[in-house]
Amino acid sequence: MQEELSLFYEDATEQLQIMENALLDAKDGTEDMDKIGEIFRAMHTIKGTAGMFEFDSIVSFTHIAENILDDVRSGNTKLDSNLSTLFMEVKDNTLQMVECCVKEQEFPNELNLQTFDLSKQLSSFLEQEDETTIEVNIQDETQNIDSVKNDDLWHISLRFDEDFFNSGMDTISIFRFFNKMGEIQINTAITETIPNIENIDCLKTYIGFEFDFESTCSKDEILEIFEFVEDDVELEVFKHSDTKTLKELVEKKEENIKEILIESGAFDESSFQENIETKVEPKKELVVATSTLPETTTEKTVAKTEVKNEPEVTNKSFSLRVDSSKVDLLINKMGEMVIQNAKLMQLAEQNANEDLEEVSEGMSSLLEEIREAVMNIRMVQVKDSFVKFKRIVNDTAKKLGKDIEFIIEGAETELDKSVVEKLSDPLVHMLRNSIDHGVEMPDIREQKGKNPKGTVYLRAFPDSGSIIIEIEDDGAGINKDVVLKKAIENNVVSENVRLTDKEIYKLIFEAGLSTAQEVSDISGRGVGMDVVKRNIQDLRGTIDVNSATNKGSKITIRLPLTLAIIDGFLVQAGNTKYIIPLDLISECMELTDEYKTTIDGASTINVRGDVLPLLDIRTFYNEEIYENIRRNVVIVKYGNYKVGLQVDELYGSQQTVIKPLGDIFENIPGISGGSILGTGEVALIFDIPKLLEYRIKQGE
């Protein structure tokens, strides 16, 4: 049952998200049928699935909403900004109800009150409409009465897997739900296969049903009822008048259902006779819900069902849900395989075995491809994450009385799922900051000769092996003087330090620095932006800020494509091998005495006139020091800091699978993880930003 419930929750939240997006696009009202359809479907689907779990309160609430949306669909009601706002509240309310139901909690009092209030508001819309559309409804109804006899009577044949009871879904609830969507006319239980009391395995399902169902539902809607158990049932849905399918059904079923159906009055003898072929309506085709029965349909209907189902099939192909830990495991094993293959290659080389080398090389390129494919599984479009921000921007702007156009660009850019997830909070924070501190109030914007409506961009695009995310606004820009003053006040920088504009802008990411004139509940407490910086750094990303007075600011985040593999540069210091992230290296050079200098006792290196601090990795990590070997320096650059790292041997670049180190290594400064080399040796991976931070602190 838990599994079904979590499916229900996922499905419902997804539907509500779609609804929210559609509502945001239609916040000033819309006549776009696609958008209205999306909103309607969300309510309709949630009503349907909630009904299956007997969450009656959700059903009745969404039912009212659905009714109004149906009116909107048929053009009787206009979806204006008022109704749109109301539906946004309906959406939030439904989400709260779903959350309570899934957690099997009672609704809190406020929620009940809110639900009552919203239902009342919704009903008032409905009543208004009732008066104006009464004529149309009468017309509709008469049409319905005419059509009930022929078209609205379905026959449904239902059998279960013998393990169906394990699914936790009770058949009685399914029937109850059918009665909410229409009316079950004649239900015939097929009991022939039920053994007697001595022989029954009472945990197995033997019973089956043949029933007539009167409803204006489409067969897709009927099939939807079984969405959660579709693998556990054998289901056929066809029009009662479709005697051809009926005959096929009778032939196929083992039980003598023809007699049972006649006896129960569901069909009469004539329905089974050969000569009423004319009654068959070929366009109401047979639907086979389980894929196990395709041979029962004629070729013609098979072809038809296929054509009809095509879009649904493609939909399913990209909504496959896999537990992320399974993918992680795959990536992990993939990494191990890369390591094993590196060993193999080394062996082949050592033994000068050309054949083996060839095989190993072939394997290498295959592994490379597989690895790429596996890594690709984790890649998701940033779209889903980004569209959620629409609501936040909308709400924040409303709260502050600002008018903002939010433009998302490059939503189809792909990024590692875990990166996307961790990115969400920092982005929310930065967006709020842009709206709160960046974009001015409409009247001030007008005074400045700008469009009173501000614009905030959220962009994502790939750039040479990394992903760039930009948040840009056309607001007031960052006031350098204020930032610097605050920074000096808070001892973030000392008074006599000269900073470039960019360095000053970056100060907004320091702890305890809020330049907002007034602290609002949206932003301005100075906590947050430093957390943003930390989060981005944890993702091995970098932040850059650009700003121009009265033109706006742009925050640029550069992120690695994935967290699991980096391009590293392998070096050795003493007896240990280290890996330096390749993208942070600016150059390598031999360390000769002419470069080496000392300032106040601290080692430095003079690179073409630039004096940089020099960090001897050997002494820093207490490595053994070998004399009389070539000494090398790798110059790393992070942000505006450049440091030379003195090491012994340079091996070159290689793809590095990052493995976490054990807990006891957690506090080693400047080491972020380890990697296993082809030789089986362990190499330690430098966390350059932390290493620099540590070094700078030590230096002070």
């Binding site: 058949t171 009685i172 029937f175 009991t191 039920i194 009391i197 001595e198 009472c202 945990l203």
Partner: protein, 86 residues
Amino acid sequence: MELQNNNFTIYEVEKLKEDFINEINNEKEVVVDFKNITKIDMSAIQLLISLKKSCDEKNKTFEIKNIKEEVLDSFEITGTAYILGV
């Protein structure tokens, strides 16, 4: 026999199956008293049909009595009321 529990569902069927077998072997008439029952599910209905089958085979009468409204509704909606004679 009077069913003691309020629920007659998948969690109770295995135990009740034993009780029913006992009942059918020892009594001439099998009368199941539903006066405590407020909830049944499909596995219960299926077990009752199975019991009814055995009664028919052994020429014993079968009856379910004191059915509450909400439980009766479950028999009716599933089309099994007629089969079980309720």
